[in-house]
Amino acid sequence: MPANWWTRSRHYFLYVVREFTALPLAVWLLWLLVEIKRAGDGPARYAPHGSAAFVIFSVVVLAFSLYHSVTFLSLSGLIIRVRVLDRNLPSGLITLAMFGLWAVASAVIAFVLIWFAR
């Protein structure tokens, strides 16, 4: 395989872009671990990164993570097979259920975070 194989087609290119969006996500999560460690060391040590550049970086990373979540959950209907009364549930229903679970989990996490921040 030549090193530039991913430039051969649009599909390959988009695949590589998709894979590379995981890198900034990993960097952001590492930074989150650092912030959690600082928060654990007490209020005096806690100084969250609040620069405009970091906020922009966070928004971009949020967009990447939403992209990964949507593509992952959209495929769930194709991959997960649930048999009810000897028949497979329609894939659309499974996808919808996964998005529903995602929304509920996000709401619960948001509630917990807001509750503890009060």
Partner: protein, 246 residues
Amino acid sequence: MADKRVTIQATRYDPEKDSAPHLQSYEIPFSDDSMVVLDALNYIKANVDGSLSYRWSCRMGICGSCGMMVNGTPKLTCNAFLRDYWPRPIIVEPLNNFPVIRDLVIDMDDFMHKLKSVKPWIIRKQEIPLGAGEHRQTNEQIDEFRQFSECINCMLCYAACPVYGLNNEFLGPAATALARRYNLDSRDQGLKNRLPVLADSEGVWECSFVGECSVVCPKGVDPAKAIQQTKLDTTLRFVLPFGNRD
């Protein structure tokens, strides 16, 4: 129409004479709108250059032997119409990711070994005597695996898969789709015989879901789906106490 011509650039490679494959250009009559790339190759072989080597058999998208790269995309040449490319030249090359034996002929041994390793046939713990009658299936049971049974082993999916191109130890799309076909068959009891190959480090977990295998499949099989479903199956069998069905 009679004067219309098309340029075919075909890979030529004789391992005894050439150090590397190269393209040779042929200009041939494009006499009929229904002509496909395979017709053009057959014309070249019959009228221009009898030494051109390539595989083909049925000419109707069933045997899977005429797969080649047509303008960079894996295609069955019996299903690639010249009218879709004309007036541009058409570049015909051997399938990507396989060693080339000669001209457009690839060495398919690796795929044949992989196919055999997943035991793509019905395995019974105990064979039922022929006299005991047939294994009956409902339409729903057939629908479970029908799509995956359409695979014709044309290997276009392997030529499209960069994961296989980068690591040819990977089991690959078609072999997994056919393993899935038998694992989903209500008559089959061979799942545990196939799992060691499917769940191996070079099995389904090597796939990073490029998805191009399903795009190029000429029979509408979805090998990417078969691979992702197998990933889920092997995971559930590993983590759930009741996951190990026979």
